[in-house]
Symmetry: none
Subunit: 215 residues, 2 copies
DNA sequence: ATTTACACTAGGAAAAACTCCCGATAATTA
DNA sequence: TAATTATCGGGAGTTTTTCCTAGTGTAAAT
């Protein structure tokens, strides 16, 4: 194998344990080389520019800038970036949002090493990769009404919806996302309108029903 | 170091990635030896009997028999087993449950390698170990005991709490109960205060957790 | 029998949150 | 190029929430 076949990888996950785990799995295959790690969305974006990895393996739920926003930013700046989501969420809403944001693949952490390697090979070739039974799930849930409503939300709306459902107030969300709390308030209104709900109570219940948060 | 100083460890987590990560971290310290892995609660119980590890590092959320039940079973059969929970849940409810079931330590996956080693040392000595800012949280929530809190509510408060959690707004509740919506608003404030919550989101979740309403 | 305690009620004033409307800027699409 | 869409936020008004105060009734304690 020549050096040019090496696939340079960046790992993004707020859990050091998970980064170490993926690193370990990748070390067993000489085609892969981990060139960078990041523990937050902000760092990921920064590191990406410095290392320009071939593939970035990224988690979705991270404090601060979440994975979906990080994906959005990286793709905005580097449209050909190959981002593979490695999430613990079996939930299709997350997957759809991530793919919408520009990710090229979606795996859950339940998957085994072989699947990870498989996905990486696909991405390296420029293809997308989604867990088999997962893409089925997505197809099914597309028929589901409620979920459709959720998919109607833009990336930003979805993100704010999630944070609201988690219990963050407007000011906290504004700080997290670095936007005005006025903007968050306005988003909240449009989210409720799109979802056809009147109060935050229904919002939480909808979020729970869709597995975005736990009760 | 003599062989008897070796701390024999079993890893239990349904995510291969996480197991690999912990293993990698432990390999860097010669005092630790991973003697077994399990990917489910059932297997953990089985493997425990075969290997009798000094310490078991166990995740809580696993399909099938969850981590908490596994802890309970292992402790029931081997009361002196040293179980260290390594969870992604910052939620104190999980921690309390795990400790109640017999775990000797609780860490979140956000923790770094040093903390894991530290925790293992404590457990090896027969002590318990809980993440510092986490034990503070637990102490707080003990005072704040959800069930206690709910019973602290007066009849009227509880009634209004339920209606709010169902999604009724102040005016509707006022009509239903034949009181001023101003009164309902005031009740709402005192309810939140008594329950130690800041927004309606947490109110709904609390109501759901306590079976007052369904999601 | 009177004090004490607490639940229930609600108004006023101020603060906070929300809604609705508008305009600006990019980026994407037709 | 024109139209559309996502993001962002100000202005102004409305609604909700908070905090304070205060009256009533009931039940237990002194």
């Amino acid at each position: 194998m020549s050096a040019s076949d090496l696939i340079r990888i960046m790992l993004v996950d707020d859990h050091a344990v998970v980064r170490a785990g993926v690193r370990r799995l990748l070390e067993q295959d000489e085609r892969f080389l981990v060139v960078a790690e990041a523990e937050s969305g902000e760092r990921a974006y920064q590191q990406f520019g410095e290392h320009l990895p071939d593939i970035t393996i990224i988690d979705l739920s991270m404090p601060g800038m979440g994975g979906i926003e990080a994906i959005g930013r990286i793709i905005a700046r580097y449209p050909t970036a190959k981002l593979l989501v490695l999430s613990m969420h079996e939930n299709t809403a997350f997957a759809s949002q991530a793919l919408k944001a520009g990710a090229k693949g979606y795996l859950t952490k339940n998957g085994l090493a072989e699947e990870l390697v498989n996905a990486l090979e696909h991405l390296a070739k420029g293809e997308t990769y989604i867990n088999a039974n997962f893409s089925k799930k997505i197809a099914q849930q597309f028929l589901n009404n409620e979920n459709n409503a959720l998919q109607q939300l833009s990336t930003r709306e979805f993100e704010i919806f999630r944070l609201l459902a988690e219990g963050s107030d407007n000011n906290l969300i504004a700080t997290k996302l670095n936007i005005s709390s006025k903007t968050v308030a306005n988003y909240q209104t449009s989210i409720k309108q799109k979802l056809g709900i009147n109060n935050s109570v229904e919002m939480v219940r909808l979020a729970i029903r869709n597995g975005l948060i736990e009760s």
